[in-house]
Assembly symmetry: C2
DNA sequence: CCTTGACCTTCCTGTGACTGGAACCCTCAT
DNA sequence: ATGAGGGTTCCAGTCACAGGAAGGTCAAGG
């Protein structure tokens, strides 16, 4: 399989797949013409990576998770640890964004949004006393 | 005022303040020795920027908001439009993160987290059929 | 045989909003 | 004179790619 086929099968852009090879997440073979040749295991890995990335894991987390995936003697505790750390990050981010949303939502509600210059949003940003 | 004083007054790192000058968000004066000299208005702008950034506005949004802030003939509708677009982005991000949190949360709950290799998290990432 | 178009390759640059660090200058107190 | 603690510029790195240029490869059609 060439990169285009793999791209449409996995839903990952070819650019991304090349990048993953660059950083050694996958190691496809090469044909005589220099084209990458992907085996089933490569496609499987790419699907794994796509799902892990969709859950927001960093590339380094993905590397760790893939190593655990391929290690038959792994302890599920190690996987869970990585996942929990990531979940904590997600929850922190959500809390930040919720705070922003609340503040911004109130300001927007208070703003007339007409052609006059008075604006609680700018007043707040300007440090309304 | 020198950059260090402004940094501690605004809570912004000196690096960030220099960067904001680089991209022309602020234009402090210069002393004969080459040091930046910040006026009250510069500090005020930096506080504005700090608050806008804390609400998650991009630098380009900040530029727009500052221009509106300084334009006495602005229409509050223009401000509100920028804010609402940003709010929509925040809410989209929150939705994404909530989905991740839910999926990841379920997987973590299902994982024993002991020294055995069986792991629903990896099974899911591997595409458990 | 030639061309066309769809693939593929590598390499370089840019993104956003900074952060870290090197190498150097200024000022004041000891 | 020296040292500490400011300041300055400039360059590189971050993260996970995306865009684009310049060129090689392959199958089909004329």
């Amino acid at each position: 399989m060439n990169i285009g086929d793999v791209a449409s099968q996995t839903g990952l852009p070819a650019k991304t797949i090349r990048y993953y090879e660059d950083i050694s997440l996958i190691k496809p073979l090469r044909d005589d013409n220099g084209y990458r040749r992907f085996r089933e295991q490569d496609v499987h890995k790419l699907n794994f990576l796509g799902r892990a990335r969709a859950l927001g894991f960093t590339i380094e987390d993905c590397r760790t998770l893939m190593a655990l995936y391929e290690d038959e003697t792994r302890a599920s505790a190690d996987v869970k640890k990585v996942a929990r750390a990531h979940l904590a990050q997600i929850e922190a981010k959500i809390a930040d964004l919720n705070a922003m949303r609340d503040t911004l939502g109130h300001l927007i509600d208070a703003c007339a949004g007409d052609d006059r210059p008075d604006c609680p949003i700018l007043q707040d940003l300007g440090g309304k006393p």
